[in-house]
C-alpha cells in the first residue's frame, strides 16, 4: 500500500533528524583573525570601482576573492581565505599555476556561491571586479541567484573597475594589494609587471614595422559574428599599441557587441588577420572548414588566423604571456592581404 510506504518514509525521516550533529560549536565567538604577519595599522580606506569609498577600522586580513582577483592578490603575497570562480579551479585560465593550498573554495560555477560555508570564514573583505555596465561586482550580478548574492552581507565588496583597458584591472589590484599591506616592490607581481612592460614594448615595436589590420570574429554554423572592440578592452589595448582592430560599421543595435554577418556576406570586411577567441579556436577552425565562403575573406584564404585571448585577462603575468604569444603569432603575417 502506497500510504504505508509514505508513513514509513515519514518515520524514518524523523529518526534521521533526531540523530544529526553539528559543525558549528555552540560556544559563540568568532575565531581570531589570522592574517598576514606585517599588517599595517588601521583605519583602512579604498575607493571601489563604483566610486564608493569603503572605510574600515582595521586593515582587512581575511579576504574572500573572485578567482581572477585572487590570482592578482596572491601574486603580491596577499592570500585570501576563500575564493569563488566562474568555472572549475582546474580549468580557469586565471588560476593556471596559482597555489591554492589552504584556501577554501566556495564556488566553481558561475552564479553559485556557498554563502553558508563563506559565513564560517569570518571574512572582513570581499574582492571582485566592478562591472560598470551591470553596476555590480563579478559573481554578484543582477541575474545571479539571490541566495548567492547574500555573500555581500558578510563583508564589504571592493574591486577595480572593468573598462577601456585591461591595465585598469592590473593597476587596480596592485593598488589594492598595497593598501592591504603587501610589499609590492619585492613581490612576484613586480616581476610580472616588468615582464608585461617588456612584452608590450616588443609588441608595439613589432606593430610599428607593419601596417596590420585585424578583425575579431566568432564563427558559428549559421552566422559569422564580427566583434565590436568597444566591448573588449584587450582589443582596444591592441589598437592603442599599433594593431588596428576593425570596428564593424553596423553592429546589431540591440546587442552592440557584434555585427552579425550571414555566410553569404562573409567577405564584407577584408582585414590582414583574423582574431578568433582562444577558448574555441580549434572548434572554430572546424566550423569554418565547412563554409564555402570562409575563404572569400582573403586573410582566411591565406591562413592568417590568430588566437585572441578574449575577455578573461586580469593580471600583468597573464597579459605578458598573451602579448608575447600574440607578437610571435603576428611575426610572419603578411600585412598586404587586407584592404
Amino acid at each position: 500500500m502506497r500510504l504505508r510506504l509514505a508513513l514509513a518514509t515519514a518515520a524514518s525521516l524523523a529518526l534521521a533528524l533526531s540523530a544529526c550533529s553539528s559543525d558549528v560549536a555552540d560556544d559563540d565567538g568568532a575565531e581570531p583573525a589570522s592574517g598576514a604577519s606585517a599588517t599595517p595599522e588601521g583605519p583602512w580606506t579604498f575607493t571601489d570601482g563604483s566610486g564608493e569609498v569603503v572605510e574600515l577600522a582595521e586593515v582587512p586580513t581575511r579576504i574572500i576573492a573572485h578567482a581572477p582577483a585572487a590570482a592578482a592578490l596572491i601574486s603580491y603575497g596577499i592570500r585570501p581565505v576563500g575564493i569563488y570562480g566562474d568555472e572549475s579551479v582546474d580549468t580557469d585560465p586565471n588560476l593556471d599555476g596559482v597555489d591554492l593550498t589552504g584556501i577554501e573554495i566556495l564556488g566553481e560555477e558561475w552564479g553559485s556561491i556557498d554563502v553558508a560555508k563563506a559565513s564560517t570564514l569570518d571574512a572582513d573583505l570581499i574582492v571582485a571586479d566592478w562591472w560598470p555596465a551591470e553596476k555590480a561586482h563579478s559573481g554578484l550580478e543582477n541575474s545571479v541567484k539571490a541566495k548567492s548574492k547574500k555573500l555581500a552581507e558578510l563583508a564589504p565588496v571592493v574591486g577595480p573597475s572593468q573598462g577601456g583597458s585591461i591595465l585598469n584591472l592590473a593597476e587596480g589590484y596592485e593598488d589594492l594589494a598595497e593598501s592591504l599591506g603587501a610589499d609590492v616592490e619585492n613581490s612576484q607581481g613586480a616581476e610580472d609587471k616588468a615582464a608585461f612592460e617588456k612584452a608590450r614594448d616588443a609588441f608595439a615595436a613589432a606593430m610599428a614595422d607593419k601596417d596590420l589590420t585585424a578583425l575579431a570574429v566568432s564563427p558559428t554554423a549559421d552566422l559569422l559574428y564580427a566583434a565590436n572592440p568597444e566591448f573588449a578592452p584587450e582589443l582596444l589595448d591592441f589598437t592603442e599599441w599599433g594593431l588596428q582592430v576593425v570596428t564593424p560599421d553596423a553592429p546589431d543595435p540591440d546587442f552592440p557587441y557584434w555585427e552579425n554577418l550571414s555566410w553569404e556576406n562573409a567577405d564584407k570586411y577584408q582585414p590582414d588577420v583574423l582574431l578568433i577567441d582562444s577558448r574555441s579556436f580549434e572548434e572554430a577552425k572546424k566550423t569554418v572548414a565547412a563554409q564555402p565562403t570562409w575563404t572569400s575573406i582573403r586573410a582566411a584564404e591565406a591562413g592568417q588566423l590568430i588566437e585572441w585571448p578574449a575577455f578573461w585577462l586580469h593580471t600583468y603575468a597573464d597579459y605578458a604571456d598573451a602579448l608575447t604569444k600574440l607578437t610571435a603569432d603576428l611575426a610572419d603575417v603578411d600585412d598586404t592581404i587586407g584592404d
Partner: protein
C-alpha cells in the same frame, strides 16, 4: 493543387533572394559557368543557396508529415515531434558527444542527433506501451513529456559545466537552415525521402485509428503493428530533420491543424496537404529570415516562432479547427 504550384515559386525565390544582393542575371549565370575558382556570387548561389533550398523543402515536408502522423497516432492536439522526445534526444546526443566524447563539428552533430532522436523515440514508445493496456495515446504523450524533461535536464546539467559546449549549443538550439551544405544535404536526404514515401502510405491506418481503438480493431487493423510502424516512420523523419537543422519546433505542431482546416479529417488527403504545407512553411520562413536580417540573417526557428505563432493564434481564434 494551388499549394503545390507555390513550391517552385518559393524555390525560385529561395535561390534568388538572400542577405547578399546578387543580380538575377548573375544568379542565372552562376549555373552556366560554375567552377571551383568562380566568384563569391557564384559560390553563394550554387554552393549555399541551392542545397539550402533543397534541405528546407525536405525538412519542412518531413516535419509537417511527422506532426500529422503523431497527432493521429496519439490523438492529442499537443503532440509534436518535440513532445515525443525527438528534440531532447537529439540535443542530448549532440551535447553528450561534445562534452563526454569530445568530438565536434557539424557533421558529428548531425550523426549524433540522428542516433539520439531515434533512440529517444524508441524509448518513448517502449515506455508508453508498457503496462496492461498497451500504448494508449495518453501514456505515449506522458512518456514523451517525461523523457523530454529528463533528457533536457541532463543536457542542461552537462552544458552548465562546459563553456565550449554551451557556446555551440546555444546556436544549435534555435534551429537553422544556414550553414548546411552539400555533404549534409546528401547525407540526410535519402532518410528523408524514404520517410516521406512511407509516411504517405499511413493514411488508411490513421483513418482507422481516428475511429477509436475498438472500431479500428473491428476494421481488422492491428493496433500494435500500426503504432509501431507509424512511430518508426516518425522517428526516421524527425530524426533526420532534427539532425540536419537542429530542433525546429512549430512546423510539426501547426501544419496538421492548418491541413485539417483546409481539407478535413481524412488522413489520405491530410498527409499530402501536410507535406506541401510543411515544405512551404519552412522555406517561406527561411526566405523571410534571410531578407529581413540585413547583412546578417535570422535563423528559421526564430522566424517561425516570431511570425508563425501569431498567425497560428489568429487562425485558432477565427477559424473553427477540427478537434481530434
Amino acid at each position: 493543387m494551388l499549394l503545390a504550384g507555390l513550391v517552385p515559386v518559393l524555390a525560385f525565390l529561395s535561390v534568388t533572394q538572400g542577405s547578399r544582393d546578387i543580380a538575377l542575371r548573375d544568379v542565372l549565370d552562376a549555373f552556366g559557368h560554375f567552377t571551383q575558382s568562380s566568384s563569391v556570387d557564384d559560390t553563394v548561389t550554387v554552393r549555399l543557396r541551392v542545397p539550402r533550398t533543397i534541405l528546407g523543402l525536405l525538412v519542412g515536408a518531413a516535419l509537417g508529415l511527422a506532426g500529422t502522423l503523431l497527432q493521429g497516432l496519439t490523438r492529442n492536439a499537443l503532440a509534436d515531434p518535440g513532445i515525443m522526445g525527438v528534440n531532447a534526444g537529439a540535443a542530448f546526443a549532440v551535447v553528450g558527444s561534445i562534452t563526454l566524447l569530445g568530438v565536434s563539428g557539424l557533421a558529428f552533430h548531425v550523426a549524433a542527433a540522428f542516433v539520439g532522436a531515434l533512440a529517444a523515440t524508441a524509448l518513448v514508445y517502449t515506455v508508453g506501451s508498457l503496462g496492461r493496456d498497451g500504448a494508449t495515446p495518453v501514456k505515449m504523450a506522458l512518456a514523451g513529456a517525461a523523457i523530454t524533461a529528463g533528457l533536457t535536464a541532463v543536457t542542461t546539467g552537462l552544458l552548465l559545466t562546459d563553456l565550449a559546449a554551451q557556446q555551440q549549443y546555444r546556436f544549435w538550439q534555435v534551429g537553422s537552415l544556414a550553414g548546411r551544405y552539400a555533404p549534409i544535404v546528401t547525407g540526410v536526404a535519402p532518410f528523408l525521402l524514404v520517410g516521406l514515401v512511407l509516411a504517405l502510405l499511413c493514411g488508411r491506418w490513421l483513418n482507422a485509428l481516428a475511429l477509436g481503438d475498438d472500431a479500428a480493431r473491428g476494421l481488422g487493423v492491428s493496433l500494435t503493428r500500426t503504432r509501431v510502424a507509424t512511430f518508426l516512420v516518425v522517428g526516421l523523419l524527425c530524426g533526420a530533420a532534427t539532425a540536419a537543422c537542429g530542433p525546429i519546433v512549430f512546423v510539426g505542431l501547426v501544419v496538421p491543424h492548418v491541413a485539417r482546416f483546409l481539407c478535413g479529417p481524412d488522413y489520405r488527403w491530410l498527409l499530402p496537404y501536410a507535406l506541401v504545407l510543411g515544405a512551404l512553411l519552412l522555406l517561406g520562413a527561411d526566405i523571410l529570415g534571410r531578407v529581413l536580417g540585413g547583412t546578417g540573417e535570422l535563423q528559421v526557428g526564430v522566424v517561425l516562432g516570431i511570425l508563425g505563432a501569431p498567425f497560428f493564434v489568429l487562425l485558432v481564434r477565427y477559424a473553427r479547427l477540427a478537434e481530434l
